[in-house]
Subunit: 129 residues, 2 copies
Amino acid sequence: IEAKGRRAEDRIQALAAGLEESSSIWQEVRWVYIETPVMGVNAKALRDQAIVVGIIRSFLWRNGLDNSMVDNGTWKKGVLGNGHASKEEIAAYAQKMLKVPTDQPQDAHDAACIAAWGYNNVPQEVANV
Amino acid sequence: IEAKGRRAEDRIQALAAGLEESSSIWQEVRWVYIETPVMGVNAKALRDQAIVVGIIRSFLWRNGLDNSMVDNGTWKKGVLGNGHASKEEIAAYAQKMLKVPTDQPQDAHDAACIAAWGYNNVPQEVANV
């Protein structure tokens, strides 16, 4: 979902609306892992990230989609063996092992690795379905 | 909405579910002001507050309820004349001027002042309806 707008406020509202229109892509989804908003960046960025996470979780719960949060250190350690893996290492892994096209942005490489982590860490009750 | 649970994670999910059941109380509402999550507290508290704000804004937008954010310094300045008003000053004002019962918690006193601020700062297009 691409949300345009000059102000973060406008982009957040557009994203919330776009998400409601996206129901068809969730058919086969069994569990969603969301990266925990990162501490250490500035507080305003953390706040906006967390508001977006709240909007997404609201959408997922209302649509019966189980979801949980995972810290970036946890998925990096689990997938790459190093909780402090660099952007370059993540992109290289995603391209080689997860077949993410090289022209994709860093967020897509991160997301592929988070999905790979989730695939290997899905709660037992889901794995057994 | 009271959401119980040992973990913040459980309380947040319960709150999201409770909000969806609350539609009947919103009939007369024209605009909702939400206090911007406060910087300066610890990052985890800020993150959880902001996730809750995202869940609430998602609910409000989906139900056609206009809403915006207001910093605590802004509403304190507007209502009490002092952007750094103390908890005691806020409670005293809310009890005397806004008739909030004295047995209410600080959050209720804050909320009454935010509502008072909103009443005096509602966007022109709403005020003219």
